[in-house]
């Protein structure tokens, strides 16, 4: 009696073989989802590092700022740094210098202009920080559907195979369905970290924005007091 290989060999189920056996459409879906996953993780890692660095440096910058005696000297020194807080600070200083350079100073107008200039700088910085987050959101919401599409397509194909072969044994159906389900697995594999990272990173950016707002308010108060002299 010959021993038929009833159980599929393990290598049949490895991701590479599953990919190689899949239909063209399913292959495309798998490649797309794999790229999406790589991109997601690139953004998660890159953005995570960046946000962490920004938060740490902003804290240091603010500590130095409140310790500094001369704003002009501080502006020429560490105020030029490539930091959101430094950008807000320089926007405030630039507006201050412009408003107070003339003979007459419109105190109310200067205050209003300082506030708008700094809030505009905050908005620009937050935009710059969160530019990649929309990608995470998109991947998080779309990847499962793309994976599902691949699965549906793959299962459709295996059913047409069944119809063509007139054979319903599990051995004919199983590989096709397994490779089709692999597409959904990839979709979820890309989507789950994307959604988690999106929530986490947007929360981090919210905190940075709030911190920048408090810093801008403090700086605005200092400049306002300066105006009254």
């Amino acid at each position: 009696m010959t021993n038929l290989p009833i159980a599929p060999t393990a290598s049949l189920l490895s991701p590479v073989t599953l990919f190689l056996q899949a239909d063209l459409v399913v292959k495309a879906v798998m490649i797309g989802l794999l790229l999406a996953s790589i991109w997601t993780w690139a953004i998660i890692l890159g953005h995570g590092l960046k946000l962490k660095r920004v938060r740490r440096q902003s804290e240091a910058f603010e500590r130095e700022f409140w310790k500094a005696d001369d704003i002009d000297k501080f502006y020429d020194g560490p105020g030029k740094a490539d930091l959101p807080a430094a950008k807000v600070f320089s926007a405030g200083v630039t507006e201050w210098r412009r408003s107070t350079s003339g003979d007459t100073v419109d105190r109310e107008g200067t205050r209003a202009r300082l506030a708008t200039a700094m809030s505009a700088a905050i908005g620009a910085e937050v935009d710059r920080l969160s530019d990649r987050l929309s990608i995470l959101a998109t991947i998080g919401s779309v990847a499962p559907f793309v994976g599902l599409f691949g699965t549906v397509w793959g299962i459709m194909k295996s059913f047409t195979d069944i119809a063509a072969q007139q054979n319903t044994s599990l051995g004919v159906v199983a590989p096709g369905i397994a490779e089709a389900l692999f597409a959904t697995a990839l979709g979820l594999f890309a989507a789950i970290p994307a959604v988690i990272a999106y929530n986490r990173l947007s929360h981090g950016i919210d905190r940075i924005e709030a911190r920048l707002g408090r810093f801008a308010d403090g700086f605005h108060g200092t400049l306002s007091r300066e105006l009254e002299l």
Partner: protein
């Protein structure tokens, strides 16, 4: 692209490559399941079974079972139950009639039977249309212990209905079915009492002979119970003689046992052609197809097999019915010239209905 993002992209790419590499290798090196081992099965060839029954008696009794089973089985179940309780009540009533005998003895038997029959007939038709075999057990134990030794014939007569009632009172709660026949027995006993008394005077032995007499109303002796195993015995294919016009002739010509041998022979010959193919293990396995086959004398099919009946069809396998039918039909046609005993042709396999149970084929 900033430095942090470049680092992120690099790490992500490398990480994915590593992950999929590990998954591929890890799955490959995972312990393989041991291949299922098929234990060798001993095959016993049973072609040596005689196609014809050796005993002629069995052949004559066999035609009866088709109608009997439903009736007879309850009896068997009931008969033993009422029998044991009777002896118990019997001693109790025995003393009571003793003081009575001088005067009230004669009147008692007369009034008692009368009121009893009137209420009893009501349950009879409702529960059991045919009370035939039931009467026997009741009278048996009652008369044998008492009437034989004691010279007074009238006393035991009234006592019998009493124990019957007592038995009913006890048994009626658990099994009403048992109580119903018991009642009918009592009535029969009442009716038959007049007939029996003379017998009892003769002694205990004749009383037994009287019982079948009392059971005459039921017509049926307990015989059929024995020969009834037949239809269930060979389930794979059970021959059912076609009802139309054939029932009289085949009963005489071909015995049921021979028919079963015939069915076994047909099954053996058709089995190799019966291929479930991909339907094996599907819900289709529970569909039982009954085919009506007509053969020529040489064993070839006279007409195409006709599907007469299905059973075991439910919502889950409805769609397989046609395939199963085709498989059964094809099996017969493919193995068509069957080698069957020529002497069983007339009324036997000339026109036969076969039930194909997929689970027991092949």
């Amino acid at each position: 692209m900033e430095r942090a993002e470049r680092i992120g992209l690099g790490v992500a790419t490398v990480g994915h490559a590593l992950l999929f590499g590990i998954l591929s290798l890890g799955l490959v090196t995972r312990a393989k399941l041991p291949p299922p081992r098929n234990e060798p099965i001993d095959v016993v060839l049973v072609d040596a079974i005689g196609l014809r029954s050796a005993s002629p008696d069995a052949a004559q009794e066999a035609p009866a079972p088709s109608e009997a089973p439903t009736i007879a089985k309850p009896e068997e179940a009931i008969a033993p139950e009422p029998a044991p309780p009777e002896p118990e009540p019997a001693p109790a009533p025995a003393p009571t009639p003793k003081p009575a005998p001088p005067k009230p003895a004669p009147p008692k038997p007369a009034p008692k039977p009368e009121p009893k029959p009137t209420p009893r007939p009501e349950p009879k038709p409702a529960q059991k249309p045919d009370p035939k075999p039931a009467p026997k057990p009741v009278p048996k134990p009652a008369p044998t212990p008492k009437p034989a030794p004691r010279p007074a014939p009238p006393k035991p007569a009234p006592s019998k209905p009493a124990p019957a009632k007592a038995a009913e009172a006890k048994t009626s709660v658990p099994d009403k079915a048992a109580a119903a026949p018991a009642k009918t027995k009592a009535t029969d006993a009442g009716d038959a009492r007049d007939r029996r008394r003379p017998d009892r005077d003769g002694g205990g032995a004749p009383s037994k002979t009287a019982k079948p007499a009392g059971g005459k109303t039921g017509e049926k002796p307990a015989k059929p119970a024995g020969s009834r195993l037949g239809p269930d015995f060979l389930k794979g294919i059970t021959p059912e003689k076609t009802a139309t016009g054939k029932s009289a002739k085949p009963a005489a010509a071909v015995s049921a046992v021979a028919m079963q041998g015939l069915a076994g022979a047909i099954k053996r010959q058709v089995e190799p052609c019966y291929e479930l193919g991909s339907l094996a293990g599907t819900p289709a396995m529970s569909i039982v197809t009954t085919l009506r086959l007509r053969f020529n004398k040489d064993g070839s099919t006279a007409t195409a097999p006709v599907v007469t009946e299905h059973s075991g069809v439910n919502g889950g396998n409805q769609s397989y019915v046609r395939q199963i039918d085709d498989i059964a039909r094809r099996a017969v046609l493919r193995c068509a010239p069957l080698k069957l005993p020529a002497d069983l042709y007339e009324g036997g396999w000339e026109d036969i209905e076969l039930r194909f149970i997929p689970g027991q084929m092949g």
